[in-house]
């Protein structure tokens, strides 16, 4: 009986510790996010029309947008109330191969207009019901870091001691191309910055600022507003 009550009290302690850790994580993982929008044309998307979000990987640019960021924006946009039909990036690139590969992808609206002269490609895009093509550029970068931590292991056990801190900056821009009217419809940008911490007293506890996720949610929200308002 006594053993059971001990187990319950241990469990409660664990729950308490988890709640405290969660609260600390929420408090310390702060992120500042900014979203901006420039509209050049009115937009309208009806049932049966689709859009695709592509990461800009054309050359000679040496920077690529993270694949999971593109997935995150597409998934969040699909989950919105407006139920926009967002095509899967890899499936779109495969179905239009070889016209959206890094070497061949159109770098601007004029290049896309020229590309649509390809009868087979134009037909394929029509079959897909593609109305908007959204190019995402940008990355999440570590802008600064500091602190130190040392870890050791002995036959008697191990542990870490120290404190690390780092700041991440996420900056993304989405350019929206209207493939039916062959014009740029507008741009949406999402920036986020945040500092993460990792104190260690035997066990390191990462308090991570979810910078990229915040930039993703901000961009998805703003893109939804762009198409529905």
């Amino acid at each position: 009986m006594k053993e059971t009550s001990n187990q319950v009290s241990r469990l409660l302690q664990c729950v308490k510790a988890t709640v405290i850790c969660g609260a600390v994580l929420t408090l310390l993982g702060c992120v500042t996010a900014t979203v901006q929008q420039v509209r050049e044309r009115s937009t309208e998307i009806s049932g049966g029309e689709t859009l695709v979000i592509l990461g800009k990987r054309s050359r000679p640019s040496t920077e690529e947008t993270e694949i999971d960021f593109i997935d995150c924006v597409a998934t969040n946009l699909r989950a919105k109330k407006s139920k926009l039909q967002v095509l899967n990036e890899q499936r779109f690139v495969d179905q239009t191969f070889p016209w959206f590969e890094p070497r061949t992808a159109p770098g601007n609206m004029n290049a896309l207009v020229n590309l649509l002269d390809q009868k087979l490609l134009a037909e394929r895009l029509e079959q897909m019901g593609l109305k908007y093509l959204i190019w995402i550029e940008g990355q999440t970068k570590r802008t600064s870091s500091g602190g130190s931590m040392s870890c050791g292991i002995t036959p008697g056990g191990g542990g870490c001691f120290g404190f690390l801190t780092w700041e991440n900056d996420a900056s993304y821009e989405a350019t929206i191309w209207d493939t039916k009217n062959k014009m740029v419809a507008g741009k949406v940008s999402s920036d986020a910055a945040g500092t993460s911490y990792m104190p260690a007293l035997i066990l390191p506890i990462p308090l991570v600022a979810r910078v990229q996720s915040n930039a993703c949610f901000g961009l998805a929200d703003q893109l939804d507003t762009f198409f529905t308002n």
């Binding site: 690529e64 239009t96 191969f97 070889p98 070497r103 390809q118 087979l120 490609l121 036959p155």
Partner: protein, 209 residues
């Protein structure tokens, strides 16, 4: 657990870590490719997929980076089957240019060179793979008429992949897709290819019976 047991386990752990650290990075491409969305060529073509292409393996030892084994040959049959299905309406596969059944203009692809770089070497975020393909173009009598060389390049962001194997696999796959893209788009515009395609319908001299 006594002290000696702990020391033994620590030793085992360290040895395992050292062995893992020394192991080679083995990359094998076994994937499917998309079919190119281009106007099909009506000229009958024979594609020679020989063993030197399908068995192509690049071995390299990088200083402080370990051994690398990149097997791109395993993906070549799938690559050229997909490429041919999109680009040629009438094509046949053969394993050697010496096959007596070849009755069409023949193309024999080969990988002449492969180079790669890891983020540790270039101090960038990218795994990179360069390949140089060579396409031997044969006439109806299986005489070599010309050689078309295509450089291919692929890169993969280390942040999108877990470890060297995944990163190099993605970069090699991107390079394979690159050669497919170049081949399918330039095939109808390349002068060398246009001259070769003319060999399928020799000009009949006036007065010739």
């Amino acid at each position: 657990m006594n002290k000696w047991h702990r020391i033994k386990m620590l030793h085992c752990g360290l040895m395992a870590a050292i062995l893992v650290g020394c192991a080679s990075t083995q990359v094998s491409l076994e994937t499917d490719f998309p079919s190119p969305l281009v106007e099909r060529q009506s000229t009958p073509v024979a594609l020679i997929i020989n063993e030197s292409l399908t068995d192509f393996v690049h071995n390299e030892t990088v200083e402080k980076g370990g051994d690398f084994v990149i097997e791109v040959g395993s993906a070549q049959r799938a690559l050229f089957e997909r490429l041919a299905s999109g680009l040629f309406s009438n094509h046949t596969f053969f394993e050697s240019i010496d096959d007596q059944n070849i009755a069409a203009l023949a193309i024999e692809p080969d990988i002449r060179e492969l180079q790669f770089a890891t983020p540790e070497q270039t101090r960038t975020d990218y795994y990179e793979v360069w390949m140089r393909y060579e396409f031997k173009l044969y006439d109806l009598e299986r005489n070599l008429k010309s050689t078309w060389s295509i450089p291919a390049y692929g890169k993969a962001n280390k942040n999108n992949h877990t470890g060297k194997r995944d990163g190099l696999e993605a970069a090699a796959l991107a390079a394979c897709r690159d050669v497919m893209a170049v081949f399918s788009i330039r095939f109808s515009n390349e002068q060398l290819v246009a001259d070769w395609l003319k060999l399928d319908s020799p000009v009949i001299q006036d007065g010739g019976e």
